[in-house]
């Protein structure tokens, strides 16, 4: 009487589980995140694969043992089991086995974490030496390689702003050359954010008052999508990022173009200020940012902060001296 109902409910459960896993686009299921396109992302991927295997085995082992115990020892009435207690020896053995597993995971995690933080030199197709120093960033420089390209990523409600070594800046889209080591200095100008582009390495928080660093070396031209992973207010879902990887020459062309665009906009702003019509200046100043933002609609009712309009104004004049330093 009981067994059939149990079988039915069990198969129902398994069926539903299967449905849960199979429903979203048959064949699209994968057990791994987006494939890596940077050496450190590859390190993270290997750590992920190994750890997934170990923890899956742990979870499966416990569940299988549990189901076996239930199936085998379901009480027939009046069975009186032998009172088994455990001596310390069994506990010690099991504890040592678990400790060994934990230690292995720890050492492995440590090695991979340290390795993923070490910069790798730019490749042959990469950009020539950039002029940016990065010793203060707290990352170990590559041995004998070119100095990497250092870009400041600044999180703001609710977009990312990128500042390039020559003082150029952009919003939403981070444009970088392929095969070049790029060091990101991650900061925030308002609340905490979390930088994450899965194909190009791990997440790092943008916290006001303290800079965070990471790096990547994109191995292929293309676009890589990312998303802030730290709740930051009502428009947090729109806080996406895109990394556009270009060839070294295309990158330099883009930088020039961007710089001219910014300069033109700044001149326009300057003219308007001089003409005394400051009210209309700020929307004008938005233009360079707008040119590179795409599909990200600024949410309405965002609760009082307008980083876009506020930031371009003050920052735009500041960008020019920054660029001058490099020259």
């Amino acid at each position: 009487m009981r067994r059939p109902t149990r079988l039915v409910s069990l198969s129902l459960l398994l069926g539903l589980l299967g449905l849960a896993l199979a429903a979203p686009g048959a064949g699209a299921i994968s057990l791994a995140p987006e494939s890596p396109h940077s050496p450190n992302a590859e390190d993270l991927r290997s750590a992920y694969d190994a750890t997934l295997l170990v923890v899956s085995l742990l979870a499966i082992a416990i569940n299988v043992a549990l189901i076996l115990a239930v199936v085998r020892f379901r009480a027939a009435r009046d069975t009186v089991p032998a009172p088994v207690r455990s001596g310390g020896r069994v506990q010690l053995r099991v504890g040592m086995l678990l400790g060994a597993i934990a230690l292995a995971i720890f050492v492995f995690g440590l090695v991979v974490a340290v390795k993923a933080r070490d910069l790798e030199a730019s490749g042959p197709e990469g950009l020539e030496a950039s002029s940016m120093r990065f010793a203060q960033l707290g990352l170990k420089p590559p041995e004998g390689g070119e100095e990497p390209l250092a870009i400041t990523v600044s999180g703001q409600q609710w977009l990312w702003r990128y500042e390039y070594p020559d003082g150029t800046f952009s919003y939403h889209d981070l444009v970088v050359p392929v095969d070049t080591t790029v060091v990101l200095r991650i900061v925030s100008t308002d609340v905490a954010h979390r930088w994450w582009v899965p194909a190009l390495g791990g997440k790092f928080d943008a916290v006001p008052g303290r800079a965070n660093t990471t790096w990547f070396k994109a191995d292929e031209e293309g676009e890589y999508l990312g998303q802030s992973a730290q709740f930051s207010g009502p428009a947090y879902p729109t806080m996406r990022a895109r990394v556009v990887v270009l060839s070294a020459t295309e990158y330099e062309a883009w930088l020039d173009e961007q710089q001219t665009g910014i300069q033109e906009a700044q001149e326009a702003v300057q003219e308007e200020i001089e003409a005394g019509t400051q009210e209309s200046a700020e929307p004008e100043a938005e233009q360079p940012g707008d040119a590179f933002e795409e599909g990200t609609d600024e949410p309405s009712g965002g609760g009082g902060k307008e980083p876009q309009t506020e930031d371009v104004g003050p920052d735009a004049p500041a960008a020019a001296p920054g660029g001058g330093d490099v020259e």
Binding site: L16, T51, V70, P83, A102, I186, P198, R210, Y236
Partner: protein, 590 residues
């Protein structure tokens, strides 16, 4: 004891009937009671109400995520739901449910007549209730919207100018103050009011878990209270504790709050673990496998669980060395958690499993927490966390573990001790329905989140975009959340219904071995008429054996064997064997 001598000496014994205290209405009796059973029940009932609220918020958020780019719920309202959901699930359901169970059961299990500080317990309850009211009253004006863990600067007065965040701080703070007081109360009670002979190694595992939980709550609750006070000062009195621009540090809040949330995690798991240990042993008709190792594991889980707070901060701008410390602590937890799972299964193995509702829920708890905690192991490996932290995979594992510990484990405890609380058993049919709904619901809701995380879905998201491959997973998850809610509600309805309509249970329906089953169901205000001597970790088994030995053909004692038996130490091993002691003082079993 040290009452001052009476100023007017009683002249003669007399019975003054008109001086009997007038019977007050039941609600006043309950509201002013210092009885640990009444306070415990009020904690349990209130926390289950908050569970319904948390569930409602969760389902509403899932409804918003049912399709991509949905506009069912306004982003601002979503943030409010999110912010109250986190506090409700952890602070107003998880911790008080565990502490309430502990408050009810632990004094009974150790043979105490009441709490050490009865009025403090009542005060703790009212702090908790008014904390919850303070939080939810904000729905009348401006609910909090700074997220599950309101990190400054988002939660400071610049970015959250409205009073909702203050309501969050005050509500959580009041409740935490209550929990800290109750936890101190429980620690003192369990330390000082144990029955004669109940040394620590004989203390039942649920009480062990209650003690460890209490210490964790005292420590991390105090830390969070300090953090909340600083945030309140920052917001209202121009403090700069978390203001990076003025020399403060937002990272400070991260350290303090994660210490608390890690403590809350432990406090939601451990009472469930203690209950599961009791249930697994009782309903498989076997003694607990490795009682001492289990108690030790609980202690280790409590200590390491709190020390591992930096496992949440691998992405924060802190030196890698600190992350490594966090990883070491978090991975060290593999040992005690693993031992707990191993010992549960070893207890079940070879037993005679009576698959009644408590055991069913306990099995569900073991299964789901195993999945959740295995996931947590993965997220405590730094390079893995750099990819998975902040994605819905972490929220999936947290929910697997905490629904396992607090809902499955907590419900197992509820089903198990309900006969003690009310004198009636909860309906088995509804229990089975609830169990299967919960099990299916948990997997349906949270398993797809693992795959969604691999597609890049991050936590706390009120909206996701078309073409990101997340549609199917979220649809299934939303359907699952309804199943989950149905499962929870079935048990709650069962609990309410059974108060009047349940089958009468008798005093010891499960044939359990711990002292709470020695008294009536529900127990009288003073708990025990006579408190028995305790000679093992299973005092009731000893009493039963003693009764059996006396009733099944009483023999005159053999004087020659006495001295030999007296040499044997009164250890656990000896106690359950043949005749190392002739029946405790348990002749008075009802």
């Amino acid at each position: 004891m040290s009452a001052p001598p009476p100023t007017v000496a009683p002249a003669r014994p007399e019975i003054v009937t008109d001086a009997m205290p007038r019977r007050r209405p039941a609600w006043i009796e309950n509201a002013t009671s210092g009885d640990h059973k009444v306070v415990g029940l009020m904690f349990i009932a209130t926390s289950l109400t908050f569970l319904v609220l948390a569930l409602t918020e969760f389902v509403l958020m899932r409804v918003q995520l049912i399709v991509p780019e949905s506009t069912i719920i306004d982003p601002i309202i979503f943030d409010r739901l999110l912010s109250t959901y986190g506090a409700t699930a952890a602070v107003f359901f998880g911790i008080p449910f565990g502490l309430g169970l502990a408050c009810y059961v632990a004094p009974l299990q150790v043979g105490a007549r009441g709490l050490a500080f009865p009025r403090l317990a009542s005060f703790a309850y009212w702090l908790y209730l008014f904390g919850g009211i303070a939080l939810y009253a904000s729905y009348l004006y401006n609910p909090p919207d700074a997220g599950v863990n309101p990190l400054p600067p988002l939660s400071d007065d610049v970015f959250s100018p409205f009073a909702g965040t203050d309501a969050w701080i005050v509500g959580v703070g009041l409740a935490l103050l209550g929990f800290v007081l109750l936890a101190i109360n429980l620690i003192v009670t369990i330390r000082n009011h144990r029955a004669p002979g109940m040394v620590w190694r004989r203390v039942p595992l649920f009480t062990w878990s209650a003690v460890v939980t209490s210490y964790v709550v005292v420590f991390t609750g105090a830390v969070m209270l300090a953090a909340l006070a600083m945030l309140l000062i920052d917001r209202n009195y121009e403090g700069v504790f978390y203001d990076a621009g003025e020399g403060g540090s937002p990272i400070l809040w991260q350290h303090l709050s994660w210490m608390f949330f890690n403590g809350a995690y432990v406090a939601m798991l451990l009472p469930g673990f203690g209950a599961i240990s009791e249930i697994v042993a009782t309903l498989s008709r076997k003694p607990q496998f490795a009682h001492r190792a289990m108690a030790g594991s609980f202690v280790a889980i409590g200590a390491l669980g709190v020390l591992a707070w930096m496992q949440n901060m691998f992405t924060a701008p802190i030196p890698l060395g600190w992350s490594i410390v966090g990883m070491a602590m978090a991975l060290a937890l593999v040992v005690p958690f693993g031992l707990v799972f191993f010992n549960w299964i070893a207890t079940l193995w070879g037993g005679a499993l009576h698959l009644r509702a408590p055991l069913l829920f306990a099995l569900g708890a073991i299964s789901t927490t195993a999945i959740g905690l295995a996931g947590e192991v993965a997220h405590s490996v730094i390079p893995v966390a750099w990819q998975t932290s902040g994605t819905v995979a972490t929220s999936m594992d947290t929910h697997y573990a905490l629904i396992g510990g607090s809902v499955f484990g907590g419900f197992a405890a509820l089903y198990y001790w309900y006969p003690k609380m009310t004198g009636r058993v909860m309906g088995e049919g509804m229990a089975k329905i609830s169990f299967w709904l919960l099990l299916i619901g948990v997997h349906l809701t949270f398993a797809p989140m693992f795959f969604a995380a691999l597609e890049g879905q991050v936590v706390d998201l009120g909206e996701y975009y078309e073409g990101t491959g997340l549609d199917g997973y979220n649809l299934v998850s939303t359907i699952g959340s309804f199943v989950l809610a149905a499962g929870v509600l079935t048990t709650l309805i069962n609990a309410v219904y059974s108060v009047r309509h349940g089958i009468r249970a008798g005093h010891d329906p499960w044939a359990a071995d711990t002292l709470e089953w020695f008294t009536l169901s529900p127990p009288p205000p003073h708990n025990f008429d006579a408190i028995p001597d305790v000679r093992s970790s299973e005092p009731l088994r000893d009493i039963r054996d003693g009764v059996r030995r006396r009733t099944e053909g009483w023999r005159p004692p053999r004087p020659l064997e006495r001295p030999a038996a007296a040499h044997a130490p009164a250890s656990e091993e000896a106690s359950s064997s043949e005749e190392s002691h002739p029946s405790g003082s348990g002749g008075s079993v009802a």
